[in-house]
Symmetry: C2
């Protein structure tokens, strides 16, 4: 795409998002401990009791993470409940007032304004203060757990529950918050990538768990998305955090609802019990082909979404008008806020129009299951069925789609709703608001699933007996969500739907929306295995070479020059004694050494000098200062630095002939950041990093290599 | 313990089972592919389509595994149902006949004889044909997945569902059965440890899934117990096998029950729906302390069981009389069979006595929930409540403990039942029968849980309203099972009970029964992490040295001599060029090379000789002939063998200074069998194997080292 084409279409030039590119801007996390002398000394000094204490504090931290996540979920729940309540109450009153006297356009304006106002608050926060909070946060957490450093991913900010959980975890486990500039001087042992990742997993699980009231689902989510190494103790801690989170949420909600001690409401999103109306209607053999069809259908919207996302991101304005395109790609925050508000207003308008022109009246049931039944132009004792779907929080809409008795919706209402909501959801995804794709997917799926069930009952003889629409709504929701989000294993627990359907989705859907998102951002994401056909590649071909190495005792000037070289910008340096590799040292470690001026000459002259300790490294973690901020005088440049006790003396190495899948397995299983390639005499010949491995992927015609770019 | 003490106690001398010993008789499996030239050539020759086909055949195999496992489960279910039906029907008729005329001792004898007869069939098969089928098979599968080669673990034999699944998987995935001497010449690609393990995981999951009707539970079991490396594609295949297995079981059972197509009965073991009577009674906050108490109580029987197992195995006859001890330790199969029959008869007698002397009569409910209500000495329209617990299949007993309305049992009945059943279960575990500990644990737990609930309702004011005994029965079952079996994460899905309880169990119970079993067998089992305090140990200290190495071109005589040396009996040999390591070759590979006489001289003289291919290695897998069976003439001993293209040219290596946790992590994460330790010039200095790592464990006072023994 040339920039000419760009300007023709009226879109400003955009950073070239491309799935064939791999961005160099992402750094890697280091999930392999640097076992240098300092670390080993500390570990060896620590008593058995010390390890017990550490283990206990891990549990305590996980408990805290769960508690805080649950508390946040509780606050969000209460706030959303009340705000939505106020909004719908006001609008309902208004509509009722104007239905008879005419002038419903005032109601429309009121609704649109209220919607926009709520959205504005969120959009302003995101656009002006924390651009990273846009979207659902799930792709970011996925990348973090995979080992990619996403800037500011776990900084303090609002966001959906999973993200909130991860942020809480990062804060609590480090015993300090850089956003809040507060250091409690506790949990210093956990200030490294390995430990932090474990806690972030727990936080993500606690978030999922609070959102869905399903601790096991939370654990599965964390494992499915993040962990490559199944560690039973870690799993237990994650489970513990999830349980505490669900429990806390329940406990405080029960107090809020004036039923203290009643722990029956499991999570934020509660679609009601299915036992009475769906599961007990046992699935029949002849329904399985239907579910397979639905599973496949769950894929098509995905394909469409995929296609339209690609269109949107890569080729500008086809789906949307030029105006929207301009708004989307202009990075000025106020325009972003305005777009968000526009979407909110359009949503309200469309919803209103749908309700207004619908004439699907349903009798009010005796159980009064509708929260805000709108009578509008219906007869007394009836309510507008379209309003149930549109004039409601999405959670409530899903619940009514699942549970309302057959006949509550007519097919036309559902078709219109599905279509409209789908387009609105597409537009909303990618806005500057902290909005997820989860609930919208469920809602769309439930709508077309119920539609499917109704049609099925209509066209088959005796169909109404077995084609319970609620059951098909559930299936549709699962299919749609599975197709889009693809965290299907956790889903089977979350929604307790487990059928051949899920397998089918898995087989037919190449990748989920989150994966597309990750790909479009050119993140060097490592999948679980190397591409199948990559055995002919060896470490020699994929590694980066030549490698900048340091001597065990190296001149300060050399180190400063290498670190200052912005063209290479390496982060790990093998340490060599003339012939062979003897260690690996990280940029961050060198920076700390330079900052504390740990030079051989100084050590000799000031014998009483405090020895550098692990604590100094931990205090600097995770935001080490850049090399430019460290002043090294000309005299100091001539000094020497002894790296022996700071380097990792036993880095993992592979011979040059090692095949790519073998290198990949080692790298992925151990969560490495740098893997040194050596020859038969243990001389360093190259260095394999994340981007060297993430570069290869299976395309349609076999192995393809992605381009690296400085985007 | 001296042998004198032994003979005093009248016990024959037993192989010293000891948890401080590590047996040398177990070999390791090799979950790291030997990427030799042959393998790499095959992989490089294979097209993209070839890999697709392999992937598809993996799915097909998993489907087959699931199907066959489900079929077996179905047959077992129908057989057990019918046999139990016949037994209870005959005994019930008999008891009813003799209740009035007297002479109930004839009924007792009938019951005991029937019991013994059934047990005899099983015991004869196990004792005479397949000693490996004793017990539940779960510890064996755990060890296999961990990487320990248990002889004949996946040979064709009967056994509980999980074991059946694993056996089916091993057979199907290899495309042949050595027990049945049949080779279908398919799936040859999968004839190596790595691939086989994946299928065995799937089979185990399918087994669990069929037994409990919980595919997700099956997947979790496999992952929790076996996999260390979380591979998403593998997880999906495992899930697929589980689903197919549940589905098959359901489908055939629905046909058997004359309700074809009705897939509502999920698994073999079905404790009925809880929604109506337990879950809907929401858990209350003040119940959580009670559950914690129950969780702790679930531990005490375990401690007792642990204690008694230790006593039984190590110190002979304290719990049991000398007679039983003699029977247990005499390894003559006929005596084993007799012991099993004795236990069956005693069980029948004790049960009968309990029923006979009980006077707990309950009115027959209108819903007739009892399958075999025994009236005995009760009034008309009443039945003997003790009989519900004893005169029933255990599954049915559990179901009635869970679901029967309050008041169905009186506390005395339950206490007596719990105690008696507990002792019987202890005795049965460890018999020569294929019997598990799963259902008995559930039954005992349900019994004391219900007792607890009843007592609670009695002592608290207004207690009967909220202390629903069925709920406490469920909690008790979960606590007991969690305490004994400790596969608690899978359990939370299987029994759908998730409460703080489970966490408590985990924290208070040091290890489960299966782990004790594994420890007593001195199996070199690798846990997930190295002991926390082992950082001061390095590869140098734990490795085996000196190492027998081969040259790249080695004299046949040398190889034969090394392989024939029974005192060392090594299985992996580093290959060196004078200074440095250049590969690793396995005993099994050398055996195949010798068998096919792949000597340099022969290759030169017979230029047309067929080159050795991967197929030759696969055909020999997994039972390679011993070196003694291969004849090498004196002339041939002078020949040379070129190992270059058969050795693994890129074995993983570590420097000598690597800490034990680091070595452990590499070894465990990659499923290695041999890890070469090298010095800074890449010279081989040692070899780390499984037993070198499994030797260290955390005792009460820190790190302890186990003794190696040739048991």
């Amino acid at each position: 795409m040339t920039s000419d084409e760009d300007s023709v279409r009226g879109c400003p030039k955009e950073i070239p998002h491309n799935e064939k590119l791999l961005s160099l801007k992402y750094e890697s996390l280091d999930y392999d401990n640097s076992e240098n002398q300092l670390f080993l000394e500390e570990e060896r000094r620590m008593s058995f009791l010390g390890f017990k204490c550490l283990e206990i504090s891990r549990w305590v931290i996980c408990g805290l993470i769960g508690f805080l996540t649950g508390l946040i979920a509780c606050c969000i729940d209460i706030a959303v409940e009340n705000l939505a309540g106020v909004k719908y109450y006001v609008v309902k009153q208004n509509i009722e007032k104007f239905t008879e006297v005419g002038g419903l356009s005032i109601s429309l304006i009121l609704w649109a304004v209220l919607n926009s106002a709520f959205v504005m608050v969120g959009a302003v926060i995101v656009a002006f203060f924390e651009p990273g909070a846009a979207g659902s946060g799930i792709p970011q957490i996925k990348c973090y757990l995979n080992g990619v450093k996403i800037p500011r991913v776990v900084r303090l900010k609002e966001g959906p529950m999973i993200h909130s959980g991860a942020v809480v975890a990062a804060g609590v486990s480090q015993g300090r918050s850089t956003s809040l500039k507060k250091d409690f001087k506790i949990f210093e042992y956990f200030r490294r990538d390995t430990e932090k990742r474990d806690f972030v997993s727990a936080g993500a699980a606690a978030g999922v768990s609070a959102a869905f009231g399903a601790p096991v689902g939370g654990v599965l989510f964390s494992l499915e998305e993040g962990a490559s190494f199944w560690n039973q103790m870690l799993t237990w801690r994650i489970f513990f955090a999830s349980m505490i989170s669900t429990f806390t949420l329940n406990f405080f909600l029960s107090i809020y609802n004036n039923k203290p001690g009643d722990l029956s409401s499991p999570g934020l999103i509660n679609f009601g019990r299915f036992e009475s109306d769906v599961s007990s209607v046992a699935y029949n053999l002849y329904e399985i082909p239907l579910f397979i069809v639905m599973g496949a259908a769950g894929k098509s919207p995905l394909l469409f979404l995929d296609f339209s996302t690609l269109l949107l991101v890569n080729y500008g304005a086809i789906l949307k008008c030029v105006c929207v395109c301009v708004l989307r790609y202009v990075h000025r925050p106020c325009l972003q806020v305005m777009e968000a508000m526009l979407v909110a207003a359009v949503t309200a308008t469309v919803s209103f129009a749908m309700i207004y022109f619908s004439n699907d009246c349903q009798p009010l049931g005796p159980d009064q299951s509708e929260d805000y039944p709108l009578q509008l132009f219906c007869a007394d004792g009836e309510y507008n069925s379209m309003a149930t779907a549109f004039f409601n929080t999405p959670e409530r809409s899903v619940r009514s789609l699942f549970h309302n008795p057959p006949g509550s919706y007519n097919p036309l209402t559902l078709s219109l709703f599905t279509l409209t909501y789908f387009f609105l959801a597409c537009w909303t995804y990618g806005l500057t608001v902290s909005a997820g794709v989860f609930i919208p997917s469920l809602l769309i799926g439930a709508a077309w699933g119920r539609l499917f069930g109704i049609l099925l009952a209509a066209i088959t003889p005796n169909g109404s007996v077995w084609a319970v629409p609620g059951k098909y709504a559930l299936m549709g929701a699962a299919a749609q969500l599975g197709g889009i989000v693809r965290m299907t294993l956790s889903l089977t627990v979350i929604t307790t739907v487990y059928t051949v359907l899920i397998i089918v989705i898995h087989l037919v859907v190449p990748q989920g929306l989150y994966d597309i998102h990750i790909k479009l951002q050119s993140v060097p994401f490592l999948h679980l295995e190397a591409p199948a056909t990559s055995h002919w590649l060896t470490a020699r071909e994929v590694m980066g070479a030549p490698v900048t190495c340091f001597n065990r005792i190296e001149k300060v000037g050399t180190i400063v020059d290498v670190l200052s070289n912005t063209s290479t910008n390496h982060n790990g340096f093998p340490v060599v004694v003339p012939v062979a590799i003897c260690g690996l040292i990280l940029r961050s470690q060198l920076i700390v050494l330079l900052k504390h001026k740990v030079f051989v000459e100084l050590a000799r002259s000031r014998l009483t000098q405090r020895k550098l300790q692990l604590k100094d490294f931990r205090d600097a973690y995770p935001r080490f200062p850049p090399i430019q901020s460290i002043h090294v005088s000309q005299d100091e440049r001539e000094c020497m630095m002894d790296l022996t006790e700071f380097m990792n003396p036993t880095p993992y190495t592979v011979p040059q002939e090692t095949s790519l899948p073998r290198v990949f397995k080692l790298f992925r299983a151990l969560g490495l950041r740098h893997l040194v390639v050596v020859d038969s005499e243990n001389r360093v010949v190259g260095l394999v990093t994340r981007k060297d491995l993430a570069r290869y992927h299976l395309g349609k015609h076999g192995l393809e290599e992605m381009q690296l770019a400085q985007t």
